[in-house]
Symmetry: C2
Subunit: 345 residues, 2 copies
């Protein structure tokens, strides 16, 4: 067996490739930035050796690293999983390495995630903060040290932010439900971040615009992020008591609607928009499974592609500003959602 060539330092390895050290460095930053023939030469040498550039050492010597931190409350929620997946792919395409930390909806892990990103000297961060549960000041050091863009939920006014236009999305679906049948009740979710009160208030305004009295079913807050369960128990209890004050239910998100539909099914109620149905149920988000519920769920599709794309673009622009010593403008991007009409309402 031939022993692989061993190289301790980047200088060693550059010599072995027959390229200069800056060229090799350029290659490691972005393989597409060097000539094709040079790239091929480096990759042949890499394949024949055990050389691994030490990113830790490299990060120490750089003006900024190629690592970008991503912090989200949960990766078990398919909404975050989908946006994060797109953010990661986009960052990789732009030559950055994403480092993802899920905070498991815990304020202490969120604070630790911020410390970890600072310690890892990431060049920037894309953050979906926990929101109301975040410890005060958790993000202060991060936003002082590096460019940070929030998505889905924001830390406070003035932060760069990419989010859903809850005013637009609730008014579109309320208008649709009123037009196609009885005005909807609203199943509220625990107010974990700014989206929940925004959706609630937008539901109320939209009902008023349509000339109907809003009817809000408050949610007992104890199941915090366990939305399916909250929806299930809410619907189950109201059907059992006969206290559901209507036959059309708009849920604050799809996960809550999944629970509500399952409870209605268990109680023998038929969900759907046809004449022989007992209940109409709609959600918000267009969760990946909402097309596979029985019946498929009518919902508002958040623009996850634009949410990921704009977050990354905004972050990279701010990193450029920081490099050039320019002040970045305060900006936020609010994305319209799209009505997805399926059979549930």
């Amino acid at each position: 067996m031939t022993r692989q060539a061993s190289h301790k330092t980047m200088d060693d390895f550059a010599r072995a490739c027959g390229v200069s050290r800056p060229t090799l460095s350029k290659y490691f930053d972005d393989p597409g930035s060097v000539k094709a023939s040079t790239r091929e030469r480096i990759e042949l040498a890499l394949a024949a050796s055990d050389y691994q550039p030490n990113l830790f050492a490299r990060n120490l010597n750089r003006k900024r690293t190629r690592h970008i931190g991503i912090i989200v409350p949960s990766m078990s929620d398919p909404f975050y999983a989908e946006v994060v997946g797109r953010i990661e792919l986009r960052l990789r395409d732009d030559g950055y390495w994403p480092i993802l930390i899920a905070t498991h909806s815990r304020a202490d892990l969120e604070a630790e995630a911020v410390r970890t990103l600072l310690a890892l000297k990431v060049a920037g961060a894309v953050v979906a903060p926990l929101g109301h549960d975040s410890e005060r000041g958790t993000f202060d050091r991060l936003t002082e040290a590096i460019p940070v863009v929030c998505f889905d939920s924001h830390i406070g006014p003035g932060m760069p932010f990419v989010g859903n236009n809850n005013g637009q999305s609730m008014s579109v679906i309320v208008e649709y439900l009123c037009r196609s049948g009885e005005p909807p009740l609203f199943f509220d979710i625990p107010h974990v971040n700014n989206n929940s009160p925004e959706r609630l208030n937008s539901y109320i305004s939209a009902m008023q615009v349509q000339g109907h009295a809003p009817e809000v079913i408050a949610c007992p807050a104890r199941y915090c992020w366990d939305f399916e369960r909250a929806g299930y128990e809410q619907m189950q209890a109201m059907l059992a008591r006969g206290s559901l004050p209507g036959q059309t239910v708009l849920c604050a998100n799809d996960r809550m609607a999944f629970g509500a539909m399952a409870a209605a099914f268990a109680a023998g109620r038929k969900v759907g928009r046809r004449r022989d149905s007992d209940l109409r149920i709609a959600g918000h988000d267009d969760h990946p499974l909402s097309r596979y519920t029985c019946p498929p769920l009518t919902t508002m599709a958040q623009d996850v592609s634009a949410m990921a794309g704009r977050s990354v673009e905004m972050l990279l622009a701010r990193m450029d500003d920081a490099d050039e010593g320019r002040e970045s403008a305060a900006e936020s991007v609010i994305l319209d959602a799209t009505l997805v009409m399926r059979d549930s309402a």
Copy 2:
């Protein structure tokens, strides 16, 4: 406004805290390892300063880093999201920092993830490999360099591995379905890793043990990881043609069962285990949403808690072995699954 104290090096900062540099280092490794009063003193000083230990520099000087890499095909799949969440929490509890990379079911990103972990000098890795789609040799350098434990799916024989006992799980559910009604057909999924052929073969053996002829419905492979869609289209086509050769369907995983149930519902078929139902459908995995389908899905619950816990324990033991210069034994842990009887079958 008071200016925060500024400390450039760990020595500076240790002096400011009034503790020795090794004690400070110990604190950063594991805050619980120093005396409570010392910890308080350091944390007060930290709060009053802008000091951040540079993990990159620290990692350079250490025998090994406190970072552990995690590679999975997808975080949009709730099974991986759940196991990874538990692995992360467990690693954090043990004083390690998880670095998660999802490969988006792409062999090139999987190979890149391995290069990134090597470059980040992680101390060990927990990996759910893509499986059949992995590039040949992707993991060779990683397994040569650091301890690696596979979960869910393995790279090859001899690798430390924690996985589901597909033989046990398929035989339990086949036996249950045969006992409670008509023997099941099997909706196969695309063979993305070793679990798929194992479940298929275990279904066939289990049917033979029960004295029935296996009936396998092969899956057109084009939708690779889009299991809901594969299940939906399979069921829709067979119901439309009237070619479904039975009324009990066992799907190779829950996500496929979600799709099959949605197609049955759309075709007006009633799914469930009661006498007035047309079809029984069962799955495998106990996906978090399987209790919220209409009707709730009968399935085999993988032991995700043990899968996460044993993977981390095995990895940490192997890291200790490596530190002590001991050879680690080849080992694999195969976990039994539990039948979860719900209303779908």
